[in-house]
């Protein structure tokens, strides 16, 4: 009992035993709480050392002296407290172990009343720590522990995906091991899928995400006639990381095209079933693509569909038939979910008078779906003009501008800094989406939520166009938790031969941040146009539920 880490466990146990002896039934919540605390203790023992080293490395140190001293000697009830508030619980348990230290020594001599008092003090300390944890706001990003939220009547321990735990060295080690394990058995260890290393200084709010450099492609570490990974997948990965294939729809189509090549060149090894072996073959390819550029929600859904189709192949099916069936499935998926969905959305938008004569439509960036809708509307002789809003560093609006002007639509081009100037002229805003989340939030190119916000302020209707295959059942309320960090060197600009930001890595207090996505809350979005019709943002979970039932 001198071990400070196990204070709570035995304390709780005592209480529960007491409760049992007093005839009370252990409620379900208490059982879960018990399990959770046991896990916490185990983790606290492990993470204490990690935390000590992490704290030395991290820059943001509001904790400074209190935290390093406290956890070393105190029982960290919630071990991830690396901020000032941790000083609060640190002080509270100070009194507890003092009494605790004396407690075990004299345990046989203590009366029941004294034990009760000790337990009550402990409970209060815990309550205090929970209160202070609730007081933490917006610092969620750096916590890397999969702990239940303070309101822990639902203590379901959710595991965070590894791609947002980049600052946790254990997770990185696990990822490296997973990549090793994923190579097929006939290749020796030297030919595994390499781990792409992060580049440059990461802004601390986003240090849990990967940040890669375009100048260090993953192919540097692969052998040139790639035998481990199918050449079509290597080509695709390169195209993703160079940005040659960009945009949710384009990436999904290119992915399915590459999978078609893989399936064509696939032969079932002896004593294996196609339905199981092909799925295993696809796993290392998917990790490779994930390292080249994090997978998008639409790609994730497409992969889920393919994996399902492959596993549903009956075992008595011949290889040729199975392959041709899979190829047809892929074709029909693309046809239904992307091409026809686009046509349906355009038809819906045009016929239901969402684009009427005399409209001034604002679009942001280059969304293939929104461009398609506008071109269709123009062909059906609607009279409207378009304002294209663009932002650095991608400047995708220039490509949208080119496509619209080529059709003959009259366009205006502004940068996002001028959006509040131009909005009084606008009658509608059309936005594309990268994904629609289950709580109604729209995940799209960074800057979209700004546009939606300003449009709301000017009372301009905002319409989001999105196919249903981009709906995903993730929930996110801010843009920090899960995002993508692009190459920071893209922000550097050379004008007239001088590059002011050239030596940005040498400045210790300068960090370059190149975010790719942001989330827009459903309050700013008036309508979502999908191929199923026009639905409000909050109906996304209904669509997902219906889709799952269908399948």
């Amino acid at each position: 009992m001198a071990d400070s880490g196990v204070i709570d466990g035995p304390g709780r146990k005592d209480e529960i035993e007491r409760a049992k002896s007093e005839g009370k039934d252990l409620t379900k919540e208490e059982k879960q709480r018990l399990r959770k605390e046991k896990k916490q203790q185990k983790k606290s023992k492990e993470k204490k050392d990690d935390k000590a080293s992490q704290e030395n490395e991290k820059e943001k140190k509001p904790v400074t002296s209190a935290a390093p001293a406290a956890p070393a000697s105190q029982p960290p009830t919630k071990p991830t407290m690396q901020k000032a508030p941790s000083a609060v619980p640190a002080t509270a348990p100070v009194s507890v172990p003092a009494s605790e230290a004396s407690g075990p020594a004299d345990k046989p001599a203590k009366t029941k009343a004294e034990l009760k008092a000790e337990r009550r003090a402990r409970q209060e300390a815990e309550r205090a720590s929970k209160q202070s944890k609730k007081g933490e706001t917006g610092q969620q990003a750096t916590t890397s522990k999969p702990k239940a939220p303070p309101s822990d009547l639902q203590p379901v321990v959710k595991r965070l995906p590894e791609h947002i735990q980049v600052d946790n060295p254990d997770v990185l080690k696990k990822l490296a091991k997973k990549l090793e394990r994923q190579q097929t058995p006939e290749h020796y260890a030297a030919k595994k899928i390499p781990l792409r290393l992060d580049y440059g200084y990461k802004v601390s709010l986003f240090s849990h995400l990967h940040q890669y450099s375009r100048k260090a492609p993953l192919t540097q570490q692969l052998s040139i006639p790639s035998t481990v990974i199918h050449p079509a997948i290597v080509r695709l990965g390169l195209q993703y990381s160079h940005g040659i294939v960009a945009g949710s729809n384009a990436r999904s189509v290119a992915l399915l095209h590459a999978f078609k090549q893989v399936i064509r060149d696939y032969t079932t090894p002896p004593n294996e079933e196609l339905s199981r072996d092909l799925v295993n073959k696809l796993k290392p390819y998917i990790s490779f693509l994930n390292q080249c550029r994090p997978l998008s929600a639409s790609m994730g859904n497409a992969i889920k569909y393919i994996k399902k189709e492959i596993s549903n192949i009956p075992s008595n099916c011949k290889e040729e038939e199975a392959k041709s069936k899979l190829l047809n499935d892929i074709e029909s998926y693309i046809n239904e979910k992307i091409i026809l969905a686009g046509v349906a959305i355009a038809k819906c938008a045009i016929e239901k008078q969402k684009i009427s004569d005399g409209d001034v439509i604002l679009v942001y960036g280059c969304s293939s779906l929104v461009n398609h809708i506008l071109c269709e509307a123009f062909e059906k002789s609607r009279k409207f003009r378009v304002i294209v809003v663009d932002s650095r560093p991608r400047l995708e609006g220039k490509e949208a501008l080119r496509r619209l002007v080529q059709k003959g639509i009259s366009c205006t081009y502004v940068l996002i800094s001028a959006v509040s100037y131009i909005l009084p002229e606008v009658s509608k805003v059309f936005l594309g989406a990268h994904a629609l989340l289950a709580n109604g939030y729209v995940m799209s190119r960074v800057g979209t939520s700004q546009i939606a916000l300003v449009a709301k302020a000017f009372n301009v209707p905002v319409l989001v166009c999105c196919e249903t295959y981009k709906f995903c059942d993730r929930v996110q309320t801010d843009s920090f938790v899960s995002n993508e960090l692009d190459d920071p060197d893209d922000l550097i600009v050379t004008r007239k031969g001088t590059t002011p930001l050239e030596g940005w890595q040498n400045e210790s207090s300068l960090g370059l941040l190149n975010l790719v996505y942001d989330v827009t809350p459903p309050d700013f979005v008036d309508l979502v146009i999908t191929e199923l019709g026009m639905i409000p943002c909050t109906s996304v979970p209904v669509v997902l539920r219906v889709k799952n039932v269908d399948q």
Partner: protein, 453 residues
Amino acid sequence: MELQAVLMAAGGGSRMTDLTYNTPKAMLPVGNKPLMWYPLNLLEKVGFEEVIVITTKEVQKMMSTDLKIKDVKMKLDVVSIQEDGDMGTADALRHIQPKIKTDILVLSCDLITDAALHEVVDLFRAHNATMAMLMSKAHEFTETVPGQKGKKKTAEQRDFVGVDQSGKRLLFMANEADLEDGLSIRKSIMRKHPRMLIKTGLVDAHLYCLKKAVVDFLTENKSISSIRGELVPYLVRKQFSKTVNSQKLKDDIDDQTQEKNDGPANHELLISSRDEPLLQLAQERSCWNDHRGDMSEAYHGGKLRCYVHIMDQGLCCRVNTLAAYIEVNRLAPKLFEEPSVHPSADISERCQMGSDSIIGALCHIADKTSIKRSTIGNNTTVKEKVKVTNSIIMHGVTIEEGCNIQGSVICSNAVIGRGADLKYCLVGNGQHIEPEAERTNEIIVGTDQLMEI
């Protein structure tokens, strides 16, 4: 399989006949390793497992006995062609066309480089290019070349290479010899790429990634015989030719079978791939363009694209002249972390050896010799009081006492008599230099060589 490597080792070394009249160019020793070992090593380091080597019977025989080549772990598929036949590199490709199943990476045996090959291959893959090649900034050769009368004349034919703003897309390629009336650039190129950088100080490394369709095209087009001289400029020109970019080509792909039946009349380079409509769809939906400012789509809708990767740092040398050979002997050993003295060499203690000298296997170096900045081949005997500076001594040479050899190249099995003083000379194969000879800036070869004019 993604890429097949093809090594062209049948070249005759026409620009350094003094060295190659007895030893074929592919087996010339550089840093005591045969010249063709260097590209093979490059391919092996990068991860190739098989190489098709096109060479002559003589080289094939020498390869089978050479230890270093036996060390190469890759599977070498040696194809021998006639030595006297006038086979160009493209003809050789046509010859091995049945073996080619995928895109190819063509190397020349005289390329010594430490370039990162993935840069070239990444351009080839990412942009779905028809051709990707490697070039390097040329460096001046500083060593004195034996047998050169007067200052080195820049009579070397320059290459004019035009690249676009990003420095990766190849727009124009011509040799000075073909530009009699001046350099003319077509308007279609200028319209699509208004900014073009023309570079002249580049060395072509003769490393090309070519699509399989190009090899098929070669089999039908028998008039092209050299990759460097004819095929590459043809492909670069064809990027902007109207027929390739026309919409008609898309329909042509559907009747591809019919066109093939037309026979040799079809000289067009058909670039197509499986699932072309899906690739088109992905490109349409993608918000990427390789250029800005005009109304055309990515790559201006062209299917044939040529890319170049220009190295500005690192070693990239083509050993096809005597000057290059000498230069490379200095630089090549620095690429590898090998001991400069072979363990089996017998060197006496009173020998003064500089740190950048290389001694081969089974050598005998006697007392009071001084060897500085030189390469000594295998089985060479160097007797007492010999001074060797800045020279290249090949295998099996005997150097008698008191010789002074400076800045020279001594070929295999030569014998240098006692007290000879050679400055900036080239001694051919098996030659004997009489004792007390004093030669400066001469090429000493046998009489049978002189007859070849």
